[in-house]
Amino acid sequence: MACPYLEYRAAAAEQSFDTERAYCTAVDAFVQPMRADVCNDRYALDHETDCEFYREAEGL
């Protein structure tokens, strides 16, 4: 299951894109594409253990 802080947005603050991209509401920023694999729990990745943004937001 994807990270609850993940949204897909085409614009935020001063950045805008042609296609919606991974945006982290925990840090209020578009995330690097590689990090989006963690947000989406792809392959063996898991946002609960692998993402410091999630863990800090959850107080883990």
Binding site: R21, A22, M34, Y43, D50, C51, E52, R55
Partner: protein, 281 residues
């Protein structure tokens, strides 16, 4: 490779790392992500003096793709615009299984080269790109089967040791081609002393690219040129032209390093000269 090679005027091979698999347009909007953008960037880099393009694939939203079909689309766009470029596919990945990482090797035709990460690299705070010996062997075996020349990416000095062990396990075609990577985190600390130590510790006859991340890109490329090596530049490794100023394009970074080479009197290899230097085909 040595200062002697520089004095002898051996041509330098410039690799342009166009896209990468980590950051995207959120870091620099000029970073090419779609097949068409990558094709255009490759042609501009060819015009600027690059002979090899290092290719990663992305989905439409910028996220990573390992699919053969996406790499095929990219290669088609590159070949339509710059048919003589050497195409080098990335097989790098964090968290993805080997079967995903093999996909970029299965285009038709196969890429002439592909990257082979020689060991682990820490990513963010909780992740590691593992690159186990088993993964290295699996990726290499398919490269060998398909006639693809590996570019051994050495993230730190320990991976020079790994390279010697790898050469005991597998019989590579000469010259062994490496990329020495300098930067922060798991990478070799970017000092001239480390650069000199590593280039003198490579296997006999090996060629090397110099890759400095971020602000180290130009200084380490210059050292590579002076010591008979080859260079890799591009937005994958550095999104800035100078401090606080985003690069306008991959070609802008290629043009700058070609200008340095020309100032130093080091000739730049054409794609066919690069094929001869690296013994491709």
């Amino acid at each position: 490779m040595s200062y002697r090679a520089f004095l002898d005027g051996e041509p330098a091979v410039v690799t342009a790392a166009l896209t990468g698999g980590v950051h995207g347009k959120e870091a620099n909007p000029n970073l090419p992500e779609t097949p068409e953008e990558i094709g255009e960037a490759a042609a501009a880099c060819r015009e600027a003096g690059a002979s090899i393009v290092h290719v990663h694939a992305r989905q439409d939203n910028g996220e990573r793709s390992f699919s053969t079909e996406r790499f095929q689309e990219i290669d088609d766009e590159i070949r339509a615009r710059a048919p003589d470029l050497v195409i080098q596919h990335s097989t790098g990945a964090t968290g993805a299984p080997d079967e995903q990482r093999l996909q970029p090797l299965r285009t038709d035709p196969a890429p002439e080269m592909a990257s082979l990460d020689m060991g682990p690299v820490n990513r963010y705070h909780h992740l590691t790109s593992e690159n186990t010996r088993g993964t290295v062997d699996t990726l290499y075996d398919e490269m060998r089967e398909r006639g693809i020349k590996p570019e051994l990416e050495l993230f730190n000095g320990g991976q020079v040791t790994e390279t010697y062990q790898f050469l005991e396990r597998r019989d590579l075609v000469d010259p062994v081609h490496t990329t020495l990577i300098f930067g922060s985190g798991s990478l070799t600390r970017p000092t001239p002393e480390n650069f000199l130590a590593l280039i003198h510790d490579l296997p006999e006859g090996a060629t090397f690219n110099t890759l400095g991340f971020g602000p180290h890109q130009l200084p380490f490329a210059t050292m590579g040129l002076l010591f008979g090596g080859h260079v890799r530049v591009g937005l994958e490794d550095n999104v800035y032209y100078r401090r606080g100023e985003l690069a306008e394009s991959n070609a802008q970074l290629v043009e700058r390093v070609v200008d340095v080479a020309e100032t130093l009197g080091r000739p730049i290899a054409t794609p066919d000269e690069a094929r001869a230097v690296l013994n491709l085909g």
